[in-house]
Structures are given as C-alpha cells and as structure tokens.
Symmetry: C2
Amino acid sequence: MQIATWNVNSIRTRQQIVTDWLKQNPVDVLCLQETKVRDEQFPLAPFESLGYHVYISGQKSYNGVAIFSKEPVTDIIFGFSPILGDNLVRDFDEQKRVISGVIDNIRVVNLYVPNGSAIGSEKYEYKLGWLALLKQYLQNLKENQSTEICICGDFNIALEDKDIYNSKNKAKHIMSSPVEREVLQDVLTVGLQDAFRKFTTEEGHYSWWDYRAAGFQRNRGWRIDHHYLTPKLYEQATKCWIDIEPRKLEKPSDHAPVVVEIEQ
Amino acid sequence: MQIATWNVNSIRTRQQIVTDWLKQNPVDVLCLQETKVRDEQFPLAPFESLGYHVYISGQKSYNGVAIFSKEPVTDIIFGFSPILGDNLVRDFDEQKRVISGVIDNIRVVNLYVPNGSAIGSEKYEYKLGWLALLKQYLQNLKENQSTEICICGDFNIALEDKDIYNSKNKAKHIMSSPVEREVLQDVLTVGLQDAFRKFTTEEGHYSWWDYRAAGFQRNRGWRIDHHYLTPKLYEQATKCWIDIEPRKLEKPSDHAPVVVEIEQ
DNA sequence: GTGCCCTTAG
DNA sequence: CTAAGGGCAC
C-alpha cells in the first residue's frame, strides 16, 4: 500500500499536474494540503474519473485538506473537535487543516500544520498551540482506536539541520527554531517515527522549495512534508521517497509529493 | 498597405495571440487598444522581433493604446493636448486613449473611445465630451496637415442597427443610443467615411462579443471597431474585413481585429 | 467572463 | 514568486 502526501497550493490551479502524476503514480491514498477551495467548488470529477474516492475539508483562499483513496474510507473525522470536544477547539477548526479516516485498518491523519509566519508572532503562538492540540488528538486516537496510525502532511517544520539546504540562522528561522522542533518531537512521543529516515539518513533531501529567489533551481530546499508511523507500520514500511519531478514542471506547487510504501 | 485595429484587452495576456496573428497577417500597421500596461512594462521585444517599430501610450489597469508599424512612424502625437492645448484637455489626456502618427503620408489616428458605462451616467457624459474634443482634434488636423487621415480603433459605438446582433432596446443601450450615434456622425462630418461599409452592406458582421452569456458562441456581436477615411483614402481602399479567427482561440480578447487595405 | 489592482498569505 | 479574493471596469 502506498500513501502519498502533497501540498498542492491550490487544487484548482494544480488539477492537471495532480491527475498526470496520479496516472504515473497510482498510489492507494493521496493526502492533499492547501487545496484553497470551498467544498462546493472542489473539482471532484477529474479525480473520481481516475478511480478515487474523494474526501474534502476546504475553505476559501487558505488551507484546505483532502484525501483521495482507491478504497472507500471509513470513519472520517473532520478537524480536532470530534475528538477533543467542541468547546476547546472550535476556533482551531475554523481553519481546515485536519482530515482523517481509516483505510485498510490504518488510520491516516492528513495534516496541514500552521506555517507560523515569524518566531514570536501571533501566528507562531497559534502554531505551537495547534501542535499541542495535535498531541492530545493523537493520544486520544491511540487510546480509543485499535488501528495503526499514519500521520502525514505538511508539518512546516524541518526536524534536523540536515533537512535544510543551509542551516545558517536556523534557530531564528520559522520552521527550524528549537522550540518548534521540541514541540514536534513532543508530539511524536505518543509513539510515531519518521518513515523517510528509516531508509535515508543523508542530508540534501527536500520536499519544499520557496518560489522566491529561484529556490528550486538553486536547490535551496527544506524537508517539511513527512509521514510518521506507529511502530508496527514503521516496521512494515518498505520504501519512502520524495518525487521531485512535478516540482520541475511549469506552474508547479512549491512542494513535491512524498510517498511511503507499507507491506501489510 | 494594410492597417489593422485590434482591442486586445491586455497586451501582456494577449502577447502570444497577437504575435501569432501578425505572423499570419503581416499588416503594415497595427493599432492596439486596451493594452492595460505602463510603458515601462510593455513587452516590446516580441513585436520588434517581428520587424515592427512600436509606439506606445499606456497606463496601468485601464486604457492604453499602441501603434506597431513596419516603417518608422513620424510626427507622433500623444493624446489631444498637443493639438488642442494643455489647458482645455489635460484632464482628458490622463486616460491614454489617443496616439497618432504619419506613415507613408497617411496620418493614422488610433482611438480608444470611452465606453460610457450607462446612458446618463458620469462616464456617459465623459464619453460625449470626449467625442466633442475628438471632432475638434480632427478638424485641426485636417486644417493644419497635408496628409490624408485614417482614424481607427474601438469606438464603442455601433452606428447602425445592422451592426448589432439584436437591435431590441438599442435606444436605451450604451453604444447604440441615438445621442451617441448622432455625436459620432457629427465627428464624421469633418470628412470621414466608414471603410467597412464601402464593401459590405449586409447585417451580421461584428467585431466585439461580450465575454458574458457566451456572446461569441451565440454570435451576439457588435461592430464597434472601425476605420474612417478621408475621401481620397476611401477611394483607394480595396478591402476591409474583420478576422474572427483569433476570437475563437483559448483566452481571446473580446474583440476581433479589423483590417483595411489601401492601394496608393 | 475576463483582466488588473491591492491585500493577505506563504 | 505564486495564489486567492474583493473591487472596479467593461
């Protein structure tokens, strides 16, 4: 089973690139982030035509997540509040950043972690608060569900210096500050491991390159799109790779898709 | 000699369509309207590469006119004020709607007549005032210059009912109201005749179709892009036609080019 | 419907 | 640099 994650930066603008990629890479599950479209306007047909069931949680302009799956997905959960309770997280769920469901006895959790803008900003505090909620959400899932868990998506955090093209000033940069890394590491203590690092330990593998300053041409990238797996799945993982080909096309997303293969 | 007029509705967006058309239709002169770009940002190179001298008078977002010519153009005049005097028309020249120059002893006057929005509106009054100035401008040119004159461009007026797909309610519609027609007819009394109507008298020939309500597919068009010629040129005109092919392409302008051929 | 500006966001 | 939305114009 192959599960891919891809921040597409607008599914409407990227429709052709995504369908082309799925024809070449018929993954079982594709988790999308930054779909940037209201549910009524989501282009379902091109993906359903390829044999996918489509599950969406969108909003206009910003954020938005979706799951495409060859098999029907069961027990879909939209946002944090069905697990953590309306009162606590209603405000957080206004931004559509979380969708999850069960496929083949794996709970796939698709995440678009807040970017955080700049260290110390209001958006940064939102990011840290959001990650704290994520930990609670995952703990609850682990305690109350019998499935293995695969969380994936755009984490907007590079955990190690080798995940960044140039680690100068990393401590002051959003996505690589010590506090962000600690908070994400703390989330992972619920029992999750980085699938990519099971197979590849060297530096220089990236999933995101800034549109600005010709980031891709100069390979100034970051590895911020991840799959984290519970122990049994981690054992079963046979491959994990970043496909930079779609990043080379005309009008690409700034992110590349990342795929994990699991042999059950 | 062939002189074309084309409202391109943004030269940056239409660059490919215009260069493709010029390769197929290497007219001597192309008069453009609604270039919608500041002079510093005008894409000169693609047109100069095709052998054209380029003369521009643009502004951001709205209006903007240009002349492309195989031969160098002499005695370029920007706007009304060089002819009518700064005091009278400085305000009118803030909108870039007029550029003219002499090619092969013909003064070509390229016009983007104000649309007028709705009858009775402030923009409508501006349109009528602008046309009154145009008459003075043309009278002055006729009195003080020895060349023949070809005025062309987007007039935003259909002079006759047969120039409109459906003349119902024409009297209440901008671009076909009696007052607009009278004012344009009055401009033409300086001594100008409609080149297109020298050759084609029947109804159903249009140069503009609204993007809205599938105007082109239903052929709900208007003939509002014209060439008007002084008597000698009118005699020398051998052809005048509207080329609707570019209107059929992807992402077209809402206007088609119109070409007049003059045998000197 | 289409295009451009400006703003917000990344 | 890229994308979206709201506003304006046509």
